[in-house]
Amino acid sequence: MGWRDRLERVGELVREFYDVRHRGALKRERRDEDDLFMLLVFSEMMGIENPASYYTLELLPLLYEGFHEWHIRMGMDHSPLENFRCC
């Protein structure tokens, strides 16, 4: 392995190191945003008055798959919504 190759390899490792950290931070930020979205949509079920709860119903089928991950992440082992069984 020549010097050039070695340098490239080191550069790649450094880039990889920062990418992973950066990627992680971005992913976390995105997840927070999505959690907020879930909270806004499901707020009525959590007892927070939501004038739009009727309109959010049409989002329910699209969000349901993410619901489990969401309530686990929110620190609730079981679905907090008495009307909305999950696990």
């Binding site: 995105r30 945003e33 119903l57 329910l60 798959e65």
Partner: protein
């Protein structure tokens, strides 16, 4: 004689306290306009409909021609809720694993009876009629429910538009973060190690979903903001306040006018129904007339900037086309139409 200048206004809301003659006024305007050769759609949004009784004929949830050029319709909010729920169920079957159907169906069933559901469904229908009605008719006249209900209905598009806006912004932020993540991902793939085929399948499903969520929200926003635009456009929409010369209806109408002004809803005028006619009435009603004069003066003061039309108390109930046409003569002068 003062009549209302409604020329060019294709959407009219007739509103006021319960029992002051909203339906009669809306019906009378509709008949006069149809008589003048306009195509008119008369819509009742009051869950306790009275158009059918007024016109002494059956009227349902679909447009029915009750005079040449005049169609009428009584919105059934529950039917509206049902059709919305079945649309949601159809989406569900497309996006959700069958194992989850029953949970979501349960949620949908709960919404059927939730307090805001009928109101929201009603607004959906009113919004759609404001949008499409004027394509088929020269005028769409809404005979509204008692004031509080109607003011809320008029304020909803604003609240909802702000809410959808917030959700869409949240989606935007999430999407741009997602794009940044996948740019880094590609960067990594270009360097070789590859387990990405697995992520990609998951991502594609997620993307389709994300796209659909955005689509649903955009459609909502489009409809809310269009309703709001129409509602506030003085070239298109006018609110007609109906009252009778008595204390409570006047107080309520004053408050209504404040709210309408605050929301910038254009107001075309005030109809004062059941004014004692200018004929000798005997001692009892003459003392009543003295009190009425005070109320009429108050109406003139409170609504000084608006055209005010007085309709006398009639010798019999207004039922059926001929009687309605008679009232119309006080309200609307076909000569003023554009």
């Amino acid at each position: 004689m003062t009549t209302l200048d409604l020329s060019g206004r294709s959407i009219l809301f007739v509103g006021g306290k319960g029992g002051v003659g909203k339906s009669t006024t809306a019906g009378a305007l509709a008949v006069s306009m149809a008589d003048a050769g306009e195509r008119v759609l008369l819509v009742s949004t009051d869950p306790a409909h009275s158009l059918a009784d007024l016109f002494d004929t059956s009227i349902g949830d679909t447009e029915k021609e009750i005079l040449p050029g005049l169609h009428a319709l009584e919105i059934d909010p529950q039917a509206e809720v049902e059709s919305y729920l079945s649309r949601v169920k159809a989406t569900m079957r497309q996006y959700v694993r069958p194992a989850m159907y029953s949970e979501i169906e349960r949620q949908i069933e709960l919404t059927r009876h939730s307090p805001g559901a009928e109101e929201a469904a009603l607004m959906d229908r009113v919004t759609a009629l404001m949008d499409e009605g004027p394509k088929r008719h020269d005028r769409v006249i809404f005979d509204t429910a008692p004031t509080g209900h109607t003011l809320r209905l008029l304020a909803l598009p604003e609240i909802m538009a702000a809410w959808t806006e917030g959700l869409l912004r949240s989606r935007d932020r999430s999407d741009s973060l997602g794009k940044a993540v996948s740019r880094l991902q590609r960067h990594k793939e270009s360097r070789g190690h590859d387990m990405s085929w697995f992520d990609e399948i998951e991502e594609e499903r997620g993307d389709e979903r994300t796209r659909k969520i955005r689509e649903v929200l955009m459609e909502r926003r489009r409809r809310f903001s269009r309703a709001r635009r129409l509602l506030l456009d003085p070239e298109v929409t006018a609110f007609v306040l109906v009252l009778i010369p008595e204390k409570l209806p006047i107080l309520e109408s004053e408050k209504t006018l404040d709210v309408l002004r605050k929301h910038k809803v254009p107001v075309a005028g005030v109809i004062v129904n059941r004014v004692l006619p200018d004929v000798p009435l005997g001692d009892f009603l003459e003392s009543r007339r003295a009190q009425e004069a005070e109320y009429l003066a108050r109406v003139d003061r409170s609504f000084a900037k608006l055209p005010r039309v007085r309709v006398p108390m009639l010798s019999s109930d207004v039922v059926g086309i001929e009687a309605i046409r008679g009232v119309g003569g006080y309200l609307f002068d076909p000569g003023t139409k554009s």
